[in-house]
Subunit: 384 residues, 2 copies
Amino acid sequence: VSDSSRTFDVAVVGGGVIGLAVAWRTAQRGLSVVVLERGELGAGTSHVAAGMLAPIAEAVPTEQPLLRLGLASVGMYPAFVAELAEAAGRDPGYLECGTLMIARDRDEAEALERQLAIRQELGLPVARLRASEARALEPALAPGLRLALEIPGDHVIDPRLLVPALGEALSRTGGEVRTGTEVASVIVDGDHVRGVALASDGAEIDAGQVVIAAGVWSGAIDGVPDGARVPLHPVKGQIMRLHDPAGPGLLTRVLRMQGGYVAPRGDGRYVLGATMEERGFDTTVTAGAVFELLRDAIELLPGLGELVIDELSAGLRPATPDNAPAIGPTAVGGLHWAAGHYRGGILLAPITASIVVAGLVGEPLPEPAAAADPGRFAGVTVDV
Amino acid sequence: VSDSSRTFDVAVVGGGVIGLAVAWRTAQRGLSVVVLERGELGAGTSHVAAGMLAPIAEAVPTEQPLLRLGLASVGMYPAFVAELAEAAGRDPGYLECGTLMIARDRDEAEALERQLAIRQELGLPVARLRASEARALEPALAPGLRLALEIPGDHVIDPRLLVPALGEALSRTGGEVRTGTEVASVIVDGDHVRGVALASDGAEIDAGQVVIAAGVWSGAIDGVPDGARVPLHPVKGQIMRLHDPAGPGLLTRVLRMQGGYVAPRGDGRYVLGATMEERGFDTTVTAGAVFELLRDAIELLPGLGELVIDELSAGLRPATPDNAPAIGPTAVGGLHWAAGHYRGGILLAPITASIVVAGLVGEPLPEPAAAADPGRFAGVTVDV
């Protein structure tokens, strides 16, 4: 079953922020592209994600290639969202707010001093603030805090605005979106991909190239040859959305503390997250997790107790064995990965799109791509 | 505007547990009755209520007439729900589980000893349990508890099962229900009621007698003469519904502690409540309230942290100046009250129905009715 309405240069499997960013950038290069999304656009992890753009706050010294990827992507964000807003005619929800990392007691303060030293060695822009200085910036902080780091370059974006902006930009650029369309497998002929088969009726969609961008659900797509597989496992995150009936102003920067963060949207809405749990594909919201998130946040920001809870939810981060994503071409001709972004799917969307598009059109991959080479997992298996 | 399809012996304003219980009992006496409910049946406070049947745990020494009303009603419950199950052909959700009141520290233990003494003086069935005895009954209780009271006669019912059971029983007994039908005012001719007027189009429904059973929203009904008014104000309660993915067994009795309670439904579902807040008609769910409910419950019952949160909600208790309800006839002929039940609407449904029906048919009111005489508020006004 194959006709011209089902023939594309590129099929992108997955309509979250990653798949949509890849597809938009692909369409801009003049390729015909279709996004195949089993649910609604952005209904997977993108719907739950806080949208932290925080490579510096989240820097791990043993993961410097990932840090470079994140720094490159956060640096692309201002131009990316400006172009997106223009292309889509709508606000993608980007907020340049900066971040404070907070220590509440002596143990946390010592840990934060080490975090500061690591970032200073790496030449990252971080300022040490005394408690009084932090409270001058954010007067709603509890008096008891011990120490803070200011990270002026770590920001946040609202994925629930980013998704429809990307979808609109993609459509306006000539790309096609098919929601409610689940892909069962990629179809490989010899050493080259030639399309995908749908789960509903087995119908095939012909595509010269295929990009797998289905987050943690990418692992369920059949037909990927051994040498091109990427081991993925879900890391559950529980998260809470709130708003202030009194309007904006309680908090203007992202707060990060041991065990979580509070991110402002700039309009009186806030996101409080997030747990890190190995629970398979479970997305229930549990009493203990909600209690701990609220406890840590209210201790640091007592005024948060007055906020209205709008939503409790849980999402699944797509984790790889080394916490870095799989982005770019594989040993199978025409088969590309854009998945495994773990905590950084929203952050890494612009750089992911650049790397994947370079692979699709046969240009050299941008420098930080090496850390995300899907080929590094050839032969690796994991139990999920 | 008045025709035979709009003529009833009795119109009950409000389709919550109280209004439905009154209407069912009224229909059983051969009177034609209609329930007028502005939303869906039980969509007001009944939908949010935990369903505590706990006159002994909630006994207040200064409110002994109210205690007698509660004891009378809890005593009616077994026969009430048995008859209802038969009449409706469905389970009304009654659970004879008993209650433990728990003290977690020395201060709470001293307070609980006083609670015990009060109940013993009143001759109420309460047993003092050492911590080890309480944990033998409920092994999931935290080791740190100090003292417990066992109240074998305080139970719980699921209002979300009780409402449809009452609705079905009412229909099968020939009563009529009109949902989506908001009453704007009662119509009084001289010194006797003759019906109600609807908010939507001003249409009148003729009724020889009218029962106001609209909970805290009863205060918004116009046309009630001065001498028959009842001052009502809302007391907000935030509450949480959870379930145990592992099934029933974590807790078999109602737990009551300072600041809240955990009530089992017997099937792995639980209700955790409830705040007491004076916030007007606000029904938002706030971060601080959810935090405090979870904190107190998890401290006492650590396994509650593993439960899945199904719902957060807030309801409005209809409070009167003396915390007792307004039940029965007024100085206006044919105008009856069944509102102002505060924390006890579910508990007091059977006795309320008995009192109101006695008034409707002109029989002597049952003994504890005096505490609920609406006439005691004649001339009383309150700011809401």
